[in-house]
């Protein structure tokens, strides 16, 4: 796996780490002399497995040892406590090999991490989502290529910290950043803009953005369009002309595909809201927000229910904005969705993407809302610009998804208790050694993981209507519209 190959660099930073946790394990070994030969054999086996990972074993050991030392005394504790004293030792023996076996895989997976944050990624790579958690998110500017434009640098950090969040906002901000990239671009002598710009300037910028957060469908579509545009520029055209052509085209793209599209969609959608309606929406979508405000300004009396979820709490902002505009808003979390849905007469959802098999790819939890609405025969209306249409297909949310760092799931207080979290781009080797609280070792060592997906896939039969700038369609028309809009 790619995880292993990346581990070559791991040696030096972890060098200090194993020294710290080892003593406890040896202590534990001393204490556990009375443990059976089988136990020792297992330990040897585990060590062999660790050695097999050569130098990286250092990292693996560090994870293993605190756990073993923790587990052994616990087993002994449980013996007197458990009612059937006979079963006690048997259990511990039985359960022993399993953690060991598990740890083999774990140690291989976790050996490679020099950085604390990477470690978290290995942890959440539990069977199902191992394929999704490959690239850790970049939160720093360290080692960034010099080709990356300052505007893009700033943008990348805004992406990774969710300051700019939402498919549309990310797409627009990216195009604007690319505008300044193009503005400050001068063609080196001996090459043509059409050949040089994409490969030498745009690509590193895009790579950097990708490293901050996986790129959304709309961004991908926009990038594809932009690259296509650049490549098609006639080499005979002067540089300044070409640049102004590009800048104008980007402005046009934003205007046509996003701003005007939003306007049209929100106009159409707001006409769907009738007096007395209760509109339920999930998380936050810019286009749903404009739609609701537009309908409110048009004088339609209706109520809004915003359902939200951790960890991003995007709906909070939406609810606040709507309330500021004078709408009657109620707010609840996803666990109360089955109650919130009772009042609703229509469900408006935003999209991150519409897949070619008619499914909706949107913030995780959207599928739950759509499912509950479908159960009660409440129409689910998706508002989506055609930039977000893609030829990709997906049957479930597992094959393709974005996995966010799992520590984001914990609230600040919980993080303090469980994970004494440092600034994310710290030098990890030093502070792991520094504070070795129990919680920290739990977080690193136990096979307990947290999963933080960004999106889920809503089955197409839950979606009654997709409103795009090309009209209101059933979800089955997505591939057709996508074909038309890309052929232009």
């Amino acid at each position: 796996m790619d995880t292993q190959s990346s581990s070559a660099t791991a040696k030096t930073p972890t060098g200090t780490v194993p020294n710290e946790p080892k003593p406890p394990s040896q202590q534990a070994q001393g204490e556990n002399q009375k443990l059976s030969g089988a136990e020792l054999k297992k330990r040897a086996k585990a060590e062999k497995a660790a050695r097999r990972a050569q130098q990286q074993a250092a990292g693996g050991k560090d994870i293993k040892s605190p756990k073993e030392s923790k587990q052994a005394p616990k087993d002994r504790d449980s013996k007197p406590a458990s009612k059937e004293s006979k079963q006690g030792p048997k259990d511990s023996e039985k359960s022993k090999p399993m953690p060991v076996r598990r740890r083999q895989s774990l140690s291989i997976a976790s050996t490679k991490e020099p950085k604390g944050e990477v470690k978290q990624y290995a942890k959440q790579a539990f069977g199902l989502f191992g394929h999704l958690s490959g690239v850790p998110r970049n939160h720093s500017l360290v080692g960034v290529s010099k080709e990356v434009h300052p505007a893009v640098l700033a943008l990348g950090l805004q992406y990774s910290s969710y300051v700019i969040c939402g498919s549309t906002a990310r797409c627009v901000s990216m195009l604007l950043a690319f505008k300044s990239v193009i503005e400050s671009y001068t063609t080196p002598s001996g090459t043509a803009l059409a050949r040089n710009l994409v490969s030498h300037v745009l690509s590193p910028n895009i790579e950097f953005l990708k490293s901050c957060r996986a790129i959304s469908i709309s961004q991908g579509n926009a990038i594809r369009w932009l690259k296509d545009l650049i490549v098609k520029i006639d080499p005979s055209v002067s540089e300044s002309e070409a640049k102004s052509h590009l800048l104008n085209s980007i402005d046009n793209f934003i205007l046509q595909r996003i701003t005007a599209a939003d306007e049209l969609i929100s106009l159409n959608a707001s006409q769907k809201i009738q007096a007395g309606d209760v509109i339920l929406t999930y998380a936050s979508s810019s286009i749903v927000q404009t739609t609701l405000i537009k309908a409110h300004k048009a004088g339609t009396p209706f109520r809004v229910v915003v359902v939200d979820s951790k960890p991003l709490y995007e709906g909070k902002r939406l609810a606040k904005t709507l309330a500021k505009h004078g709408l009657q808003v109620s707010y609840g979390l996803i666990s109360s969705a089955s109650h919130a849905i009772k009042d609703a007469t229509k469900v408006f959802l935003g999209a991150s993407a519409m897949l070619s098999n008619g499914r909706l790819y949107s913030r995780v939890g959207t599928a739950i809302i759509a499912m509950l609405a479908d159960e009660r025969n409440i129409p689910v209306i998706v508002l989506c610009e055609s930039v977000k249409f893609t030829e990709r297909v997906a049957l479930d949310s597992i094959v393709g998804n974005e996995v966010a760092p799992s520590e984001e799931l914990l609230s600040e207080a919980e993080r303090d208790v469980l994970v004494p979290l440092k600034p994310l781009n710290r030098d990890p080797s030093s502070d792991i050694a520094a504070d070795k609280s129990d919680a920290r070792t739990w977080w690193m060592g136990e096979p307990l993981q947290m999963l933080n997906l960004m999106y889920d896939v809503t089955p197409s039969d839950y979606i009654k209507l997709v409103i795009t700038e090309n009209g209101s369609l059933p979800s089955s028309s997505v591939p057709v519209v996508h074909r038309i809009s890309t052929n232009i």
Binding site: Q71, K74, D77, S78, A81, K83, D91, K94, S95, M98, P99, R102, F126, G127, L128, V306, S309, K310, P311, A319, K320, A323, K324, V329, S330, Y331, G332, L333, I334, S335, S336, A337, S338, H339, A340, R363, V364, G365, A367, I368, M371, L372, E375, D396, S397, I398, N401, L409, E414, L418, W442, E446, P447, L448, Q449, M450, L451, N452, L453, D456
Partner: protein, 480 residues
Amino acid sequence: MPPTTVTVAPGLSSFLKSLKNTPVDSSIEHFIALLKRRQIRNSRPCAIATTQLLLRVVAEFKFRDVDKLLRRVREVGQRLIAAQPREMVVGNIVRRVLGLIREVAEDDAEVDTNAISDIGNSPVPLQSEFPRPTLASSMSTFSPLRYGSTSMDSSLHQSESMSDQGELPHRPPLLTSHTSYSVPNAPMVTSLFGLFSHPDSPSASSTPTGYNSPNGKGTLTAQNLERLSESTSSKANIKAEVQEGIKELMDELEQSDDLIAANALDHIHSNEIILTHSASTSVQKFLLAAAKKRKFTVVHAEAHPNDHHATHAMTLTGTKRDYDDDSDAEDRWKPLTAAGITVVMIPDSHVFAIMSRVNKVILATHTVLANGGLVAAAGARVIAKAAKVHQTPVVVVSGVYKLSPVYPFDIEELIEYGDAGNVVPYEDGDFVDKVDVDNPLYDYVPADLVDLYITNLGGHAPSYLYRIVADHYRVEDINL
């Protein structure tokens, strides 16, 4: 959020401690106050507290009149239920204690008056259950019923007690405390016998009779009571028997988790992915029992914003953090991870996304209702529905004591709403001022979303639960 009760704050353990040396009436007041302030909450603590309190009430009861005892327990029960109607276990326990008293009284009456009583009874059938007095008489005639006074089998259900008579000599004495939840097949023999001997009775193992009901026919009650007051020797036993029965009820509460867990291996297979929700000791024990033999993955939805602290504590340490444990030593379980199980914590929003890979959903419950529906922590309904959509079986794990005879005519009234500050902190004044924030604590999950119930009696289809209700509660007690 009340769970922030630290050790100092009043809760179950402090209540149980105070119970021994406070007068009953002030204990009742104390418990009512705790219920009202939600300082005792969730099914198990409520059930334990109610049982202990009723034990005290019965012990302190001075009169020898069964009718008065019933009235007293009922009166206490009504006050407790009024204090916190949504903790339905309180009502369940009160009903079971009432049923217990009736049973003991009936047995006692039958011992004294033997077969005469049924002659007195049969002409006075209560409508809707006319065949049952005859059935009861059949039982009393072919059994000396001496077991009643030995209190081994002051079992809670008459249908079971019939079986007891049939096989009393064969059973090892150890098993007797389990009578109410073992031998699923044995009753068939005797009840079939009952069926043949009384061909006109349509259902042999039906709800126990109500002929000794105080609000039954006047002459009958007077008759019985008269007889009861005649035989002073047996009356002394009644109280002891009832106390014994309540203690058995306590045993049942204690053991139900283990009995449920005994089914675990039948339902959890190797390498399965199990999804569960919120923090429940029953589910925890169930999974731990399976973890002894098999390796699987647990996906744990954390039930934000009300139970997620408890859920985190559960996955970390194996116990709920705020669970004021009176029995420290026994309650210290290992977390699942220590048993080699991979536990993946997910937010509630991931449920649908991950459901396509989940093999089984195991839900904890707050209360199970007679129609097979259940009330569980908020989010359970979404999980059950998502499981239905993905054709994933939903297994609900619950002790019989959570099974309530209440029919959910009005679902809304079962749902308690909690502190909105858990959803949006009150510091966010701007937001809280303008936006209505909802925080329901519970979800009602309809019966058709559940595939299987596992209780301490074994596994049941949701459609069968009414039968277990009928076994455990007297018809007279359903409306307290």
